[in-house]
């Protein structure tokens, strides 16, 4: 039976940038064993020599001629911004302490 401890879930939540309550961490940890057991079935198959498929179709790089096409105006692009300033997205501090 697989399992994932509360602390391991907390670490993953940190990596995924999701704050979680103690209850959520404990809950997820208790469900994870069952889910991991189910998905781990992919390891039951002998996959030696089988190539991986990342995409259902052969992908080709698609390029277009380098010409200017109509696009969103700055006003439209900012229309959903939680905060803005001088035609830019205003974000919380990203480099340590506030000035």
């Amino acid at each position: 039976m697989s399992s994932l401890s509360r602390d391991e879930v907390a670490k993953l939540a940190g990596l995924a940038r999701i704050e979680m309550t103690e209850e959520e961490l404990v809950n997820l940890s208790s469900q994870f064993g069952m889910i991991l057991d189910a998905v781990a079935r992919v390891q039951e198959v002998d996959l030696t020599g089988v190539k991986a498929t990342s995409h259902p179709q052969p992908l080709e790089n698609v390029a277009r001629p380098d010409v200017v096409l109509p696009s969103l105006s700055p006003q439209d692009a900012l229309s959903g911004a939680p905060a803005q300033e001088e035609s830019r997205f205003r974000v919380p501090q990203i480099l340590g302490e506030a000035e």
Binding site: L12, R17, I35, R41, Q57, L59
Partner: protein, 498 residues
């Protein structure tokens, strides 16, 4: 008027027996009457819909040539952006967001004069099989309001089956069009991957996502399919080839000599008795029409569910990183010099629901170093085996068939605390998504034990979508003559006007 097929409505419009404004108003009235019970819609844009309808009526009056679905109302899954109209993907993290652009599907609908009445409920970011994971509460199955309509496109399926809309659009990543179509007694198609543009389709799992049509008949569904499909330079994975002749195929409905392969792994144990019975009967109908029924073996399908629940969460953990509280959507915790990282984490906690968090964490785990090869890597190889199984099966048959879902509609709350039981609802639909091919679900009757709709699934190779419609319309016609009336005539009236 609202119980007609889209084709009949289009005829009435062309004959001048009614106008698109009248038709749209009749559906808006129906929504006002019954959506308090069904809760299919998250947002109804009555004003916009009537304006669109009026425009089509004026064009028709002036003698302009119109597309076959011009003036027909439609319900749009809230996973697709529509400029200026609230778009949430069923998530609180996007509450109140009004996209500044139209998805390509919406542009095509507008160009064809289709009247978009509103946005329908869904499992948050399309993650779920019951619409119970919506951040805005569940949708209820018109056949029995104590049951789910399936999901994730449960709102769209419920809208069509309750006569709130003759047509709807959904999206299908693991069965999210076909399974709700099955559970509500309507037709739903997941087109070939790359056949319909994903531009403006809010991404869940990019290598599996595909938008597609819902209708009450195979021909109605084909007409919508033809409107929404086609190459789009704005989507790098869009197939640059003509749209398969789905409307012509839906009109022909001839299966004489067609080879129909029954997938051994997708029936029997685990399938509800009434589901299996209706499926077997449908096969007999197809055989009576001259189709040749063969059995095909797809041994890797046994691992499809496991592979899907590694691939989809892995892709989602990456795709949903864009909800970072910086450019659009919710932002919480932005106080007194809180760091961007703290604001991001607080916002994602407040904005994402339980299932979304579960899948992001699972995906983060499956992609982390040390586990990548064992989980995500193995799942990608299983995907190859499934593609090979299909290739072999399609060398023996023109289309493949199975029940769409192992059970009929389940009760609200029945599986919501048991993720694995919920995931099993997609066991028969997931292989199509992993292989990037196309699939249809159409009604096969009602299960004896609960009188709820059963879905019959047809699968065809990539860009052979017309085969779905060919076999589907043949079966539909045979079953209709057996039943004497469309299956939805047996659904309860919901207390609204008819």
């Amino acid at each position: 008027m609202i119980r007609k097929t889209a084709v009949q409505m289009a005829e009435s419009l062309a004959q001048g027996e009614t106008t698109s404004v009248e038709l749209t108003q009749a559906h808006l009235d129906r929504i006002a009457d019954v959506d308090g019970k069904v809760k299919a819609f998250l947002h109804v844009d009555a004003e916009g819909a009537l304006a669109q309808a009026k425009q089509v009526d004026e064009k028709r009056k002036s003698g302009e040539k119109l597309s076959p679905l011009a003036g027909i109302p439609l319900a749009l899954k809230d996973v697709l952006t529509q400029k200026g109209i609230p778009t949430t993907s069923g998530s609180k993290i996007l509450e109140g967001w009004r996209p500044p652009y139209d998805s390509t599907v919406v542009s095509k609908l507008k160009d064809a004069g289709v009247v978009i009445m509103g946005k329908t409920n869904m499992d948050e970011f399309a993650m779920g099989s019951s619409t119970e994971n919506s951040g805005y509460g569940p949708t209820f199955n018109p056949w029995d309001l104590a049951r789910t309509p399936g999901g994730s496109s449960g709102g769209s399926a419920a809208a069509v089956s309750s006569f709130e809309a003759p047509l709807a659009i959904g999206s299908d990543t693991g069965g999210s069009i076909r399974q709700p179509a099955a559970l509500t007694g309507i037709v739903g198609v997941r087109p070939t991957y790359g056949a319909v543009s994903r531009f403006g389709l809010i991404a869940y799992s990019s290598s599996l996502d595909q938008a597609g049509p819902f209708g009450r008949t195979v021909l109605d569904t084909a007409l919508l399919h033809e409107v929404m499909a086609g190459h789009d330079p704005k989507d790098a994975t869009s197939i640059n080839a003509p749209v398969p002749a789905v409307v012509a195929a839906a009109k022909s409905g001839d299966v004489k000599g067609m080879k129909i392969g029954v997938i051994k792994q997708l029936q029997g144990e685990g399938y509800q008795k009434g589901v299996q019975t209706r499926f077997d009967e449908s096969l007999k109908e197809l055989a009576a029409l001259g189709a040749e029924i063969v059995e095909v073996d797809c041994p890797s399908f046994e691992y499809a569910l496991a592979a899907y629940y590694l691939i989809a969460p892995s892709e989602c953990s990456s795709n949903l990183a864009r909800f970072d509280a910086m450019r659009y959507g919710l932002r919480t915790g932005d106080v007194n010099g809180a760091s961007a990282e703290a604001v991001m984490s607080a916002t994602r906690d407040a904005g994402f629901g339980r299932e979304v968090k579960r899948r992001i964490i699972l995906g983060t785990y499956a992609l982390s170093s040390g586990y990548y090869d064992a989980y995500y890597g193995s799942a990608q190889k299983i995907r190859t085996l499934i593609i090979q199984d299909y290739a072999k099966a399609f060398s023996q048959a023109d289309v493949l068939v199975s029940p769409t879902a192992p059970t009929t509609a389940f009760k609200i709350g029945e599986k919501v605390d048991d993720p694995m039981a919920m995931y099993l609802a997609d066991v028969a639909t997931i292989p199509v998504n992993l292989a990037g091919i196309c699939g249809m679900s159409l009604p096969a009757g009602l299960a004896d034990e609960d009188n709820l709709p059963v879905g019959f699934q047809i699968m065809a190779p990539a860009m052979q979508d017309q085969r779905l419609y060919q076999a589907g319309s043949a079966l539909e016609a045979a079953l209709l003559s057996k039943w004497g009336a469309p299956i939805l005539d047996k659904a309860p009236a919901l207390g609204g006007s008819k």
